[in-house]
Structure formats: C-alpha cells, structure tokens
Amino acid sequence: MATVTFDKATRLFPGAERPAVDALDIEIGDGEFLVLVGPSGCGKSTSLRMLAGLEDVNGGSIRIGDRDVTNLAPKDRDIAMVFQNYALYPHMTVGENMGFALKIAGEPKDKIRERVAEAAKILDLEQYVDRKPKALSGGQRQRVAMGRAIVRSPQVFLMDEPLSNLDAKLRVQTRSQIAALQRRLGVTTVYVTHDQVEAMTMGDRVAVLKDGILQQVDTPRNMYDNPKNVFVAGFIGSPAMNLLQVDAEGGTLHFGGANVPIPRETAEVADKAGRKITVGVRPEDMAIVGDGQGLKTVVNLVEELGADAYVYGTADVDGKPYDIIARVDGRKPPEKGESVHFAPKEGHIHLFSTETGERLKS
C-alpha cells in the first residue's frame, strides 16, 4: 500500500534564518491525489523534492508505505517524477520508447511487453505501439512521455508544476487528462502548483502552505467552506474573499449598517483585541440591501459576465478604505459611481481573530 507520510519533516537551507519547510505533517492515503499549493516561496516544491530525495531532510522523516525513505537515494524510493523532460527517440517504436527504462533496468522481455501493453491501453496508444513516434500528434507524443513513467509502476507519482508552460486552453485540457489518468491508475500522486484554481479542481485534498508552514490540508469543499485562517480564506477562491476588520461590541459585529450577532467565545476574543474582529465574506455571499442596512460601497467597476456580474468597489470602515468584490445578478447590475449597500448572507460569514488570523466560531 503506498501511503505517503511527511512526519514533522523539516528542511533548513544552510545560512537561512528560518526553515524552508517547517515540521510538515501530512498523511497521504493510498491512491490519493494530493495537491500542494501556495504562493511562491511557500515550500511546496521543496516539500516535493524532499519526498523525491532531491532535497536533504534536516528534521523529521518521510515514509512511503511503511518504508522510511528519508535517507534513500531518489532512484531507490520507487517514485516517478512525471513530466520531466522525456525525449522521444525517433528510431525506436512507441512501445520501445515507453519501455526502455525497464530494459536498461534489466527487466525480462515479457514483463516489459506486458507493462507497455497495459500503459498503451490506458493512454489510448494501443494502435501505435509498433509504430515510430513520427506518426504521432503532439498530444499523443506527450502521452508517450507519461507512458514512460507509468510502465515503471511506481508507488508514487510526483508532479511539479507540470502545466506552468502551457497556454490557458491547453492547461485546462491537460489538467483533466491528468486527473482522469490518475483516477484510472489509482496511483498515489503528489502534485505541486501555485494556481489555486488548479489545486481545487484536481485534488482529492489540497494542502496550503505559507512560509514553509502547513496552513490547512482538507478537501476542496471543506477548505472553501471552512478556511482555517485568514491566509487560506484569502488564498482559496477566485475572486478572493472580502476580508475586513470591523468593530465587534458585546455580541454583535457591525458590518457597516448591518448588525450581525456573534457567539460569546468569539465576542470574548474580539474584546481582547480591542473590540476588533476580521470578517470574511465571499463575493457570492454579498447581498444587496437597502440604504443604511449594510456596508456602503462605491462602485468602481462592473464586470458583466452574462448571468452574473462582479462589482468592484471601495468601502470605508472606520476611516479605512477596503476593496470590495461582490457577485450580483447580471441582468440589472449597479452602475459605475453608484453607491450600493452590501450585507453578508446569513450563515455565510467567516470570522477570524485579528491578532492570530485563526478561524473563530461564527
């Protein structure tokens, strides 16, 4: 069974002040597609490379199944880095191209033939196995490259931003191809991307990292509905969640003219932070209300997308201007320059401690 465990794994680069990856703790299930996502420098690629054996591990350990692989060389870990730059050899057949790594590893001919046939079937290349690569289209050639990784039957697939060099249309296409392939193969996969939309569409679970520290690992649904802290709340979801610091007095917070009740524990936290609390509302959870009943927002730009429209505006909270994004009905959107009042839809408010950023009960 190929589970993958990061057990308080740490990577500290020589001379660095803080770890690039700080005591990372994740357990990845057998056959799971886990995506590591975060902004540039968050440690996602470093974590993947630690798993691959390309990066030293300075603390903690890494396991594949029951095996502690922390100090094993990359080629002894039974992993495959997919989408490395595989060459396509013109004089060999497609089958030979896919299987030659097994050949040089000394595997018996019939095993190679079997594995190649399996992979060709999964990749829809069966009819090309005995043909030369020049008969293939660009997309088919890329699948031969995948085939090279597949025939090795590794325990884990590792992919490091494989789509970053593709144009938007090809990216979406290839994304679904990869996801479908992984589902079919059932091989545990760890995938790195900086694109949170990609992470949310592809992963069984998503792990968000920031400054080397794991922020949250969860299903896309859960992460979207219950972000654990302000960073995850603002990072996941496009357009981004509106995050504002508002007054919270007693058991109520003031969202402009709207008064929203909050639980006692949350109110206590707010009290300790000078009666301030951070409120998060997703654009689709902003409702237009009457004058004085919500947060007054001056409309700067309206993005009309047919059924929906996105309103980009500015609101003032205690003298502080905030950028506001709200989704409205596309048939009668507000005008630029207009003032609109927004209040959060009931039950769709996220509360965070202003001091720590941690999620609070709402």
Binding site: A52, N85, H91, E96, A101
Partner: protein, 423 residues
C-alpha cells in the same frame, strides 16, 4: 508588432529575422542546415554575419528562465552555449500571438554527437564522448548547477587534443543552487545514464551503433567515470604525517585532470599522526588559464596542456632558463605556434581550430620522425600535414550541409534516411 528583446549586446541584424512567422515555417534561404538533435521544441539555425545562431521557440517563462541560467553559467565560466536574446511579443499576420524565441550562439568548431562518427558509433568514440560528458557534469555540479537532462543531444562537442570537450546546450531543466545535495547529484547522474542509454538504443534501432557496443554497458560507464572524477576531486583522503609528499601528488593529479585546487583542508588528528586531506572549490581550466595568461591563446584544456608541453620543450631546447616565463612564451608563439597556423592556406582555415591543428601537426611530426628515424622539424611537419592530411578533412567551423563537400548530415532526425558526416 511590438517586439520585446531581452538581449546581451549582440548583432542588431537579429531584429531583421522573420519574427512574425512561426519558426517551423521560416524560409529555407534564411536557415542553415545544422544537425538538430532530438528536441521537444522547434529549433532552427540562422547565420548572421560570421556567426551562427540557434533559435528555439518556447513558452515565455521557460525562455526567460533558461536565458537567465545560461547567462549565469557564462558568468561562472562554465562550458555552455552563449545566451544571446529572448524575443517576445511576437504576433503573426493575423494578430495571433506566437511563442517567444530563445536565441543562443552556436559554438564554432563544435559538433553534435551524431556528426562524430561515420557509419556506426564505435566503442572508443563513445567512451571519449562519455569522458567529456562526465567531466562536464562534474564541473557543473561543483559549481552548484543541477542539469536535469544531461544527454548527448543536449551537448555540443569540440575536439580537444584527441579527446573531446563538452558544452551544455540546453538549460531548460537546470537549477543553480549553492551546493548540490547528494540526492540531486546522484539523480542527475542517473538521468544522464538513462538518457545516454536511450540515445544509444536509438542509434542501435537506426543501424548506427557498432555491433560491439552494449548500450547499457556504455551508459553505465558515465556513472563510473563521474564517480571516479568526483572522488578524485572531492574525496577526503587520510594518510600518515610522514607521507606529506602525497599532498603534492594529490594536487598534481588534480591539475592533470585540469582542475585547480583553490583550498585544501588539512586536519591532523590529536596525536598529529594522521592527516586528512580534502580539496575544496575545485575548478577546471587550470591549463587553459595558464596558457591564456602566458600567451593570450584561448583554447580547450587538453589542447592547452599539449601546447604548454611544447612550450616547455621549446624552453629547454632554446636554453632560456634565465628568462621570464612570459617572455619565453611570447617567443614560442612567434616562432613556433603562429608559423604553423599560417602554414595552413586561407581556404583551409575553416577545417579545424588553430590549437587543434597545432596538436595534429605535433602528432604528424612524431609520426614522420619515427618513420625517418630523425626529428623532421616542426615546419616541414606542418607543410607535410597540410598537403597530406588536412586537405582531406571536412570543415568543422560550422558543420554546414552547403559548405562541406558533399557529406549529408542528418538535418532532421525525424527523417528516415540518415547519412552522417565523416569525422
């Protein structure tokens, strides 16, 4: 079209190339038919003035990244092709954007590996190519550069006194770190082994590999050679204090390999009896640097060693022990080196690099002298060499289909009929 050019100071004529046309559609009269090797991207060669450039169409961030890496390699004096420019903002006639292009300068006198053997690749050529590749990998690794795709196809080779010097061509998968971890190094070498095995198997499938070669065996050699070199360079060595001559030996061995020892860590144990020796920050180019300093000649490492040997022999023969090294060196250039190079008629100067010609003349001189039982002398050997040997050699200044007599070089490896050029 608002072209954007990120470029090192280079030929402004680059701007005149048909950037509004997809690279694979560039007209043949603009192109130079150089052997292309196996690339994932569209690659074409163009000539501007005296120089030949390689143009590769790739996505923007990949192009910028590779350009940056190649410039860094250049700054660190590592053997790689020279990055010239990234051309972005390309659009075709209908206003559709085209991928940017990375432009690099083709190395003069360099050859892709497929051009280095006629009919089939033989074991000794393969081993020499491997040696060059292993040495390049070691050099890159000591500088903290992880290649990620070391292969014959991603390398250009130059002759170096009978051996080869290898140059990195493709840095797309490269990474520059302070120091490489053991995992990174071993993985990089393993990748090289896999790629080389693939390339040899491909030659085999195309009937271009000599039957005596076992692709896997040869590919394994690159790992062995790399490890030997690495150990030689950076392995710690322990010996008794009485054996201090071994320090000198170690340094000499490293110099022989062309590496400079910048520092040594010498640690004696508490008793002062055993000594541990670990060279640090070794950098190749020891001989070529010395020759450059003495004569201003910029040549490959083995060539430099050869010329320096001849320089030493010249010194001894002229009995000028009292004079300064630099003065003698200049006299040697005037009286020995340049006359040989000038003995080659102008129309044959494109055949081999001057330092390589000199090396071959020295070989020829030895051969003739052996045959005649006496030293035939340098100039007679040079003239004999030009008349009897050089005339029959193909040009290597650029392996151009149109410039060399009639050998047909495999311009497109995807075409079935291959006829490699004579070495």
């Amino acid at each position: 079209m608002a072209l954007q050019l990120l470029a090192a100071p280079s030929d402004p004529a680059l701007l005149d190339l048909p950037w509004g046309t997809p690279l694979e559609d560039w007209p043949a009269d603009q192109l130079v038919a150089l052997p292309r090797g196996l690339s994932r991207h569209v690659v074409r060669f163009v000539r501007i003035g005296e120089a030949v450039y390689a143009v590769k169409e790739i996505a923007e961030n990949a192009a910028l990244r590779e350009y940056g890496l190649l410039r860094q390699l250049e700054r660190r004096d590592l053997p790689a092709v020279e990055a010239v420019a990234v051309v972005s903002g390309r659009v075709d006639d209908s206003g559709q954007p085209l991928d940017p292009a990375l432009v690099t300068r083709h190395l003069q006198f360099s050859l892709p590996y497929r051009a280095l053997f006629s009919s089939t690749l033989r074991a000794d050529t393969a081993k020499r190519l491997l040696d060059a590749l292993a040495a390049l990998l070691v050099r890159l690794h000591t500088a903290g550069f992880y290649w990620g795709d070391c292969s014959f196809s991603n390398t250009l080779f130059r002759r170096d006194a009978g051996a080869f010097a290898a140059y990195l061509v493709d840095a797309e998968t490269g990474e520059l770190h302070g120091n490489l971890s053991e995992g990174q190094r071993t993985y990089d070498v393993d990748l090289a082994r896999t790629n080389i095995a693939g390339e040899l198997l491909d030659l085999d499938a195309g009937g271009l590999l000599h039957s005596s070669i076992d692709p896997v065996e040869i590919a394994d050699l690159v790992v062995e050679r790399y490890q030997d070199l690495w150990r030689e360079l950076l392995g710690a060595e322990t010996f008794d204090t009485g054996e201090r001559y071994r320090i000198d030996q170690r340094i000499r061995r490293l110099n022989e390999l062309g590496f400079d020892v910048a520092e040594l860590t010498i640690v004696t144990d508490i008793d002062g009896r055993t000594v541990q020796l670990e060279p640090k920050v070794v950098d190749a180019g020891h001989h070529s640097r010395r020759l450059l300093r003495l004569t201003g000649l910029d040549v490959e490492e083995n060539q430099a060693r050869r010329l320096l040997n001849d320089l030493d022999a010249y010194r001894a023969a002229k009995d000028v022990q009292g004079e300064s090294e630099e003065i003698v060196a200049h006299r040697w250039v005037d009286e020995a080196f340049e006359p040989v190079v000038r003995a080659v008629p102008k129309d044959m100067r494109g055949k081999l690099e001057p330092a390589e010609i000199f090396h071959e003349v020295l070989e020829h001189r030895w051969f003739l002298s052996e045959r005649e039982g006496r030293d035939v002398g340098l100039m007679p050997a040079a003239l004999s060499y030009v008349a009897d040997v050089l005339t029959h050699k193909p040009d290597e200044q650029a392996v151009l289909g149109s410039r060399i007599g009639s050998p047909t070089v495999e311009a497109d490896p995807w075409v079935e009929d291959d006829e490699p050029v004579e070495p």
